[in-house]
Amino acid sequence: MSIPAMILVTPLVTAGLSLLAPNFAGPLTAAAQLLTLAFCGLLAQRVAAAGVSAAGWFYADAVSAFMLLTLSLVTCTAAFYSAGYLKAASGGAAGRARDLRRYYGQFNLFAFALLLTPLLSNLGLVWIALELTTLASVLLVGYENNARAVEAAWKYLIISTAGAVLGLWGTVLLYYAAAHGSVPYAGLDWPALSRLAGGFDPRVMKLVLLLVLIGYGTKAGLAPMHTWLPDAHGEAPSPVSALLSGAKTSVSFYVVLRFYFLVLATLGPLAQKFMLLFGLLSIVVAAAFILQQRDYKRLLAYSTVEHMGIAGIGTGFGTPLAIYGVLLHIFSHALTKSLLFYAAGNISLKYRTREITGVSGLLKNLPFTGAAFLAGVLAVTGLPPSGIFVSKFSILMAGFRTFPPAAVFLLVIVAVIFFGFLRSVNPMLFSRPAEPPPEAKISRWTAWAMAVSLIFVIGPGLFTPWPFARLLDSAVAVFLGR
């Protein structure tokens, strides 16, 4: 079997096994995700050597390989974290078989859909796979099955599906434009479209741009269509929040990028301005809500809106340095935000509240989780040494050369968000413990997940291993055609 097939079969088989043997599903899923990660690494290596790896239905260029690495790292740590989290959430017992089946069955299906999306080159198939990521995760968001979780799941499904309808519409119009292009092409294969994109009709492509940015942007969490995101990320069990924030929004943004660069070839600066507009709006909305947030999981969720906005702004800047920054940003944000949600999960298990004011003395009560949370917060707000610092810096440098006012604005908003974050998080970490919080057994599995994430959060800020840097460079070349 080819490597892409192996990447996809592993989670599918694990989903089936989880239904049969729910009590072993946790460790089994973790092992399977480790295997998937290894396959993704293998594929990345092959792509780095050969440029493109296409086999049957599957197609992987440098961007796909890069995304697969990002996604499989997050699903892998999330699987390890889940094993510990579910045990602790059910009070140390193994949990009911029915709940475990429900959880791990969908977890693995979700991982399957996430990994499927970057492996396809036909944009119609990409739509199907992306919609599958939503469908597989809806009931995970509503896992707790209380009023708040159901409300979050409902909004998530309805708003995401509306976005998907608009995305499908954009895809149909793109096909229409390609079929009547200067070199007619009847199909939706990305490499072919990318070659011909300069000759498409600009009037149709304007509509495509709008529909794609709104449609797929909904799933990526770009404002003003982000409204499902804080609800879903807040109410889902923490490992699912980590997957939504780290993997789901990343893969949706990846789809936005695929479409955006086709539109860019026809429309040029107009497309850049639209992208900048959505990005700037996202960071403004995020900043406004971060400053007044009382719930720490929703705080992290709005930070995701912010980072998708930054990635959008970087894409709008459009120089090779900016696109390099955007891709690195997607990677770093995925790892950092999942780390933060793991820590937040442990905090909510220990303190049994999601109110920021309900948490005190975190570093004393939960030393490792507290330290990881602190490191994650400093990284996510862009302090060195961290991957996000490097990527933000690249995006800003590119911005000062292309759209200086937007870059200055970005810098100001990032500073505001830094302030907002520290103001909220400082009392959680450093204040004196109010009263001894109830005993909660935090599993060692969660510590492993956080430790591994931490390496990848800080690592890219210190040095970039050359195979990784080369993969990133060829990914930039895929989009910019150099």
Binding site: E151, I158, A162, E235
Partner: protein, 220 residues
């Protein structure tokens, strides 16, 4: 060249398709919304089959068959099966905008759709010239139904109607998907509709109502 009689038949079906969307906009009873949706999906299947006959595309026959199976039969049946009868028998009395107002707004949306589509249709493309504006109008009306209704079932129907509109717009372009992908597309649509039905029931169990516009525990 396309036979003018044939075009007229297509036009009549298309007009009925648009009328069905307007009927859903004004239907008070939940079950009525779902039935109208089934009828509209049937028209979509007919339109796809007609265009398939005209262009000799086997692909579109498959689309027509899948529409008939999934959208006309399975989705309405499954929604009726998942959602409790007490919800489906209810009537929605209050809309966000009253019915005459809503009809006026959808008239504006349809006009917008016709002018916007006119700008992008390539000359000589008769089929697209006919179907793209209809699809666009129905999509916009479907999305409008979503925001103008307070109850869960009509909102879901609105979303499904918007989907129908996009599919109609895709018909003259024969989708551009590999053949097997059609199954994936309709599978997604089916599972999505089923999940919506399940969530409607869960919302009902939690809040004793399906007035989803009152769901507002989560904000900020």
């Amino acid at each position: 060249m396309v036979d003018p009689v044939f075009l007229r038949v297509l036009g009549v079906c298309g007009a009925l398709f648009l009328l069905a969307a307007l009927a859903i906009l004004t239907a008070r009873q939940m079950r009525g919304c779902i039935r109208l949706y089934a009828g509209q999906s049937f028209l979509l299947a007919v339109l796809a089959a007609l265009v398939g006959f005209l262009t000799g595309s086997a692909h579109l026959y498959l689309v027509a068959a899948l529409t008939l199976l999934v959208k006309t039969l399975l989705i309405p049946y499954l929604l009726g099966w998942v959602i409790h009868d007490t919800i489906l028998e209810k009537r929605e009395i209050e809309f966000v905008v009253n019915i005459p107002g809503s009809l006026f707004i959808s008239g504006l949306l349809a006009a917008l759709a016709f002018f916007a589509s006119k700008a992008v249709v390539f000359p000589g493309d008769v089929l697209t010239k006919l179907l793209l504006p209809l699809g666009t109008a129905v999509t916009l009306i479907g999305l409008y139904v979503m925001v103008s209704r307070k109850e869960a079932v009509p909102q879901v129907t609105g979303l499904l109607v918007a989907e129908n509109g996009v599919l109609l717009a895709a018909v003259p372009t024969a989708f551009g998907l590999p053949l097997i992908a059609e199954f994936g597309l309709f599978f997604d649509l089916l599972v999505g509709a089923l999940l919506m039905g399940v969530l409607v029931m869960r919302v009902h169990r939690q809040t004793e109502s399906t007035a989803v516009h009152e769901l507002c525990q989560l904000k900020e």
